[in-house]
């Protein structure tokens, strides 16, 4: 997991001929995102270490008059760093990548829209559409879900399986996982919305992960199922706050109401009347 970053000293970087303030050591892609300079990317996730898997965020770095390509998600800002984001080389590289992604994830709207924004609407590569693919032919194998599951959550329920063109992400043996908390971190980080999860009554079903089922716990007040049981138990064990009791029993909505009522009672005394 990423260490808490200490901001480096303020420096200046040049992107497409314009100067921007940044902190030394900051990831160039995050500078670009902050400054609203468009660089396409799929596998960048601020809460994880830079990985450089999707190759879409390539920029050209100008050094001593020479240019070389680098992924902006692994490039660290340094004083005087100069990059270009839309050179003919980059445009060519990006177009090929989009064509490859269109073939790799033919059912992904995210990829289709992103590629179209950069003028790529068709692919010359063979589209591989697999019937019954648990990830709906939308996965680009960027690995964010695998890393979020293992590096952030410490669950390690999913991983890459096989190799080369046969590589997929799923649970071992395509069997329901005992390591999955049902936290849904994988669903959140997935750049192509490939992972399906559904709350059905007292259970959360990880539809993409071999139908893994995780029990949910209900809110004591309204009865709504709101959090995976095991996950809340492990989070609560680490929490040290006076609110612990309420967090353990109430869903966020009822917790809000509960706190508001306590506040009112504390101010005015007496009893609160239920409507």
């Amino acid at each position: 997991m990423i260490q808490q970053e200490i901001p480096g000293k303020p420096i200046t970087v040049t992107i497409n001929g314009k100067e921007y303030r940044a902190n030394e050591g900051e990831i160039l892609l995050s500078v670009a995102i902050r400054e609203k300079i468009e660089i396409p990317h799929l596998c960048y996730e601020a809460s994880l270490d830079p990985y450089g898997a999707c190759r879409l965020c390539m920029v050209e770095v100008v050094r001593k008059g020479k240019r070389e390509m680098a992924t902006s998600c692994t490039l660290r800002a340094a004083d005087g760093l100069e990059v270009l984001t839309d050179t003919p080389e980059i445009v060519k590289h990006r177009s090929i990548l989009f064509e490859l992604y269109l073939a790799e994830a033919p059912k992904s709207d995210v990829i289709r829209d992103m590629a179209a924004r950069y003028g790529v609407t068709r692919t010359r590569f063979l589209k591989r559409i697999e019937q019954g693919d648990p990830l709906g032919n939308k996965c680009v194998l960027c690995g964010l879900c695998v890393r979020a599951c293992s590096e952030i959550m410490g669950a390690g329920a999913i991983n890459f399986i096989n190799r080369g063109p046969y590589t997929v992400v799923n649970t071992p043996y395509y069997a329901p996982s005992r390591d999955c908390f049902g936290c849904g971190a994988c669903v959140r980080v997935c750049p192509t919305n490939a992972i399906e999860m559904e709350d059905a009554g007292a259970e959360r079903v990880m539809k993409s992960w071999s139908g893994t089922r995780v029990p949910l716990s209900p809110c004591e007040c309204c009865g709504r199922y709101y959090a995976p049981r095991e996950l809340s138990a492990s989070v609560l064990a680490r929490l040290d706050t006076p609110l612990k009791e309420e967090i353990a029993r109430l869903c966020p909505e009822c917790r809000g109401k509960h706190i508001a009522r306590e506040e009112i009672l504390a101010k005015h005394g007496g009893s609160a009347k239920h409507a």
């Binding site: 390690g156 991983n159 046969y166 649970t171 071992p172 390591d179």
Partner: protein, 161 residues
């Protein structure tokens, strides 16, 4: 694999670098394949998630996840062997053993005869290109192989027409 054998294997691999691959390699060598039960037991013992072990075992073509026959025949399908007729050898072998090979969803080709005597697999390169086409049975290499040689070679391993 029984627990004691697995414990002995784990004990032999205490250096962190390459530890899991070393253990998995020994399991593969002793059992001929890596069973789900063994992988689950190993996960418990070394404190590594089963997803990581399964990822490793499916990544390397060295590991087999299904039980294999008494003799494992590996046909080299590297470039040199392919050009020199490895496909014809595979087809001849299928005919002799009465099996039809097919690539499974993990991209590996492995098929075992019904009587569990032979398993046919393919490999991408043995590094023995000078003797192409090459096949290997239980660790013995056969170079310059032709479909006509096969009955004789198989005969050494108890095959009868």
């Amino acid at each position: 694999m029984d627990e004691r054998t697995l414990d002995a294997i784990i004990a032999r691999h205490d250096a962190p670098a390459g530890r899991l691959l070393g253990i998995l390699g020994e399991i593969q060598n002793q059992e001929g394949y890596v069973s789900r039960e063994t992988l689950e037991m190993l996960s418990e013992k070394v404190g590594v998630r089963i997803s990581q072990l399964y990822g490793l075992a499916t990544f390397y073509s060295y590991f087999t996840l299904r039980p294999v026959g008494d003799h494992v025949i590996t046909i080299c399908m590297g470039t040199a062997c392919h050009v020199k007729g490895a496909v014809a050898i595979l087809e001849a072998l299928e005919g002799l053993l009465g099996i039809k090979s097919d690539v499974t969803d993990d991209g590996k080709l492995s098929i075992t005869t019904i009587d569990r005597k032979f398993t046919v697999e393919i490999a991408r390169c043995f590094g023995a290109c000078s003797m192409a086409p090459v096949l290997r049975i239980d660790g013995n290499l056969y170079g310059y192989a032709t479909p006509e040689d096969l009955p004789g070679i198989l005969g050494e391993y108890g095959w009868k027409p």
